[in-house]
């Protein structure tokens, strides 16, 4: 088993390294000169442009830039954002908190609601099952950014009960519990958008595994022994059905930094997603590199952890590891 995990960790490191190279090459191929995004509209003296180029290593050959990049990464230096006049790591980490405030509750609630819906569908069946499937299908098919716009139109503009965008009420700053309630008010609509999709993801996964468990021999046996449907669900189906959800949970958590990209844009949420969209517009190379790399690391780490958890929770997998990963 330890050998298996060492293997996993080794491949994770390879994955991260490959992605560092891929990211670097990809982003360096972007046409255009970031110096001009920095100066603005009016002609600048050549000296000044040259100085910027020297300072930021833009006049070096590509492989030298890559070498500098790798060296800097090793020291935890993700570069300096021209557009923000701030170190990239500070910039991203500063926004990460805001994104996590939005994404963590979204994932947790989506997982709970998704599992609950599919359990309820499995136990009630019939019309309820169809309704849950329909909800899931809708969440999977709706463009979230569009949903966001429609929600803003209804709740912020027409009804005027919720704010259109941002994280705080700037006009009447609150403190303590009031500030928390204020944050909640700002979170409602973006959270709804993200969850519409994530509930669908979780309920699909849970539904698949619940059906798998329901049809398995031991549940059949339990039912045959005369145990009630509800008891069987609660004691036998749920614990087994949750296991695959852990894997999805790890994956979703890993994608925390990027899954709210479109939603943050619509709601002007000051998180990583908005930073990314702005950086694409500004050709802010180091920020793009940083976000891609950090989110990749997060996905890889989350996957390994989910794997670990998965294995601990489900003894059958521990036993069959050798066969599965031959």
């Amino acid at each position: 088993m330890w050998q298996y995990f060492l293997k996993r960790v080794f491949w994770s490191i390879v994955t991260i390294f490959v992605i560092i190279i891929v990211n670097f090459v990809l982003i360096k191929l972007v046409p255009g000169d970031p110096v001009h995004a920095m100066i603005g509209d009016f002609p600048a003296p050549q000296d000044y442009i040259d100085q910027l180029r020297r300072d930021f290593g833009l006049d070096q050959p590509l492989h030298v830039q890559l070498w500098l990049y790798l060296g800097n990464l090793a020291q935890g230096n993700f570069g300096f954002s021209f557009a923000n006049r701030q170190p990239v790591l500070d910039l991203i980490l500063g926004r990460t908190v805001n994104t996590l405030i939005l994404i963590l509750p979204a994932i947790v609630f989506s997982a709970i609601i998704g599992i609950a819906l599919s359990l309820a569908a499995a136990s009630r069946g019939g019309g309820f099952d169809i309704t849950v499937s329909a909800i899931t299908l809708f969440g999977y098919s709706i463009p979230v950014f569009w949903l966001g716009q429609v929600l803003v139109l209804i709740f912020a503009i027409v009804l005027g009960v919720l704010p259109t965008s941002g994280m705080y009420s700037l006009r009447a700053p609150q403190s303590g519990f009031g500030a928390f309630l204020d944050l909640l008010r700002h979170m409602v609509l973006p959270l709804a958008c993200i969850m519409a999709f994530k509930i669908a993801v979780f309920s699909r996964t849970a539904r698949a595994s619940i059906l798998g468990v329901l049809n398995s021999d031991f549940v059949m046996t339990a039912r045959a022994k005369g145990l009630s449907r509800g008891y069987t669900l609660w004691r036998h189906v749920l614990p087994n059905a949750v296991i695959p959800v852990i894997a999805v949970f790890g994956y979703q958590f890993g994608h925390a930094l990027t899954s709210s990209l479109l939603v943050e844009t619509v709601f002007a949420w000051p998180g990583v997603g908005q930073l990314f969209v702005t950086a694409v517009g500004q050709r802010d190379f180091p920020v793009l590199q940083g976000i891609l790399l950090l989110s990749t690391i997060l996905v890889v780490v989350a996957n390994v952890l989910a794997d670990l958890l998965y294995t601990i929770v489900d003894p059958r997998i521990r036993r069959s590891l050798g066969a599965r990963h031959a």
């Binding site: 995004a37 912020a156 503009i157 844009t265």
Partner: protein, 535 residues
Amino acid sequence: MFKKSRIISVLRWTILGGLWVAPAAAQAEAAPQRGGTAIIGLAAEPKGFNSALTSSTPDTVAGCMVYEGLLTIDTGNGKDEISPLLAESWDVSDDGLTYTFHLRNANWHDGQPFTSEDVRYTLEEVAAKFSPMFSAQVGTNLVKVETPDKRTAIIQLKQPYPTLLRTLNCTYSTPILPAHIFKNTDVATNPATTSQPIGTGPFKFESWQRGSHINLVRNDDYWEDGKPYLDGLIIRAIPNAASRIQALMAGEIDFIPMVHFPLNDARMVESTPDLQIVRSGFAPGMTYAAFNLKRAPFNDARVRNALLMATNRQFIHDTAFSGLGDLGRAPWPSGIEWAANREVNYDVSNPYDPERAAALLDEAGLLAGADGTRFSLNIIYDSAIAERNQVANALKANWGAVGVNVTLQPLEIAVVMPRVFKEHDFDIYLNDNNSYGDPAIGVGRVFVTESIGRISGNAAQYSNPEVDALFAAGAKEIDPDKRAEIYQSIQPILVRDMPVMMLHELSGFDGAAKRLHGLWGWIGNGRWAHAWLEQ
């Protein structure tokens, strides 16, 4: 020795009103109220606060609340006059080479006194080297800045430059910086540039929630008595244009400055009871299309003239600009009235007439093929500006109607700039241009040979020795009448040669809450020291 042209500080708020500041007339009557915090919405977060290093709008907006220039420009009631700010008054020598500034008694936000040394340091060591505008316009023409005493600063020039005063304001990249903070440091990375500005302005920096907003608070020690009225200002970044407008309409922000306020939303904002559209104090500008004169068939003046005749400027004016501003009729904005030649008018020389345009294209040998197409071209433009996309689509449809197949290439500004101005890899370039209120500063750069290859310079690569000589003469001429004559004589040449065509005469318009008053009538984003909120 000195010609006494001392200008006295006069605040002109009593005579506001007139054609384009209609709401301001009402403002003049209502008594200003103290208190409250106004919220400004921008399309991008500032990179810093130092407009001496950049002319980008977010930095200028945030920076010029905290820093101030020596002068400002009074644009109230259709005027265009240099007004005092940190300099109380000034004298100009007869030969136009010596400018003496008498400075105001003011303090920096850290309590240190503002002195002539700050002016010397800023102009000599920062603006002349780094300021995008001052370094290009004055730069090596600056001999030195003398400081005979703490309240006097004297600028010495090599050659006369009659538009010098116009460049000495914060919005146009010349904020006065505190020498005691900046001296012997790297200006670009000094915290007073990047995160902790210390100025003389009406508002002091308080905090910055990165990615969200900046808090500024009232400077109780401001040199102008009783100002500012507001307790504070919040500058908020909302990159998505739709979200920005929604925030304004929902009352979450009070003000969106021009450039960041999409003009094609103007009608919608105007029809909202609590909101107003106000013409900002920006210098006349234009939306123009530059032809790549080095490429066929744009090297043929008939083709360029034909394309202008195929263009429905009225439609562009009505849709993309919501009828705000004016139709393009001359090579540069007629808003610089003294330099406008009234004989020059596209409506006469190149009226919208697709049939004549088609005939002219036939004459140039560009006959329609079997599918009706004469030739193809691409239009390159900055993708971030919504109304420009609309203009480009209108051109595509207009020119398509006379058999020209148009491909649109909206690109990020960082890509557009080198591609158009350095590599000259484009057919048509659609852009905005700020005249900065004087042809010597903002117009000449579009046409003179010297600025070929310079960013925001001469995209068309137009080179005409006669035009070069006239622009050079105009920049140096001290006599206003002679200057006007020189510039007016350039316009007919530019219509004949048509290196660029002006599609629309731009004016800056701000979107604002109606309860915001007292702001407008000054160059830049208004004078926030005078702004007040109806409670």
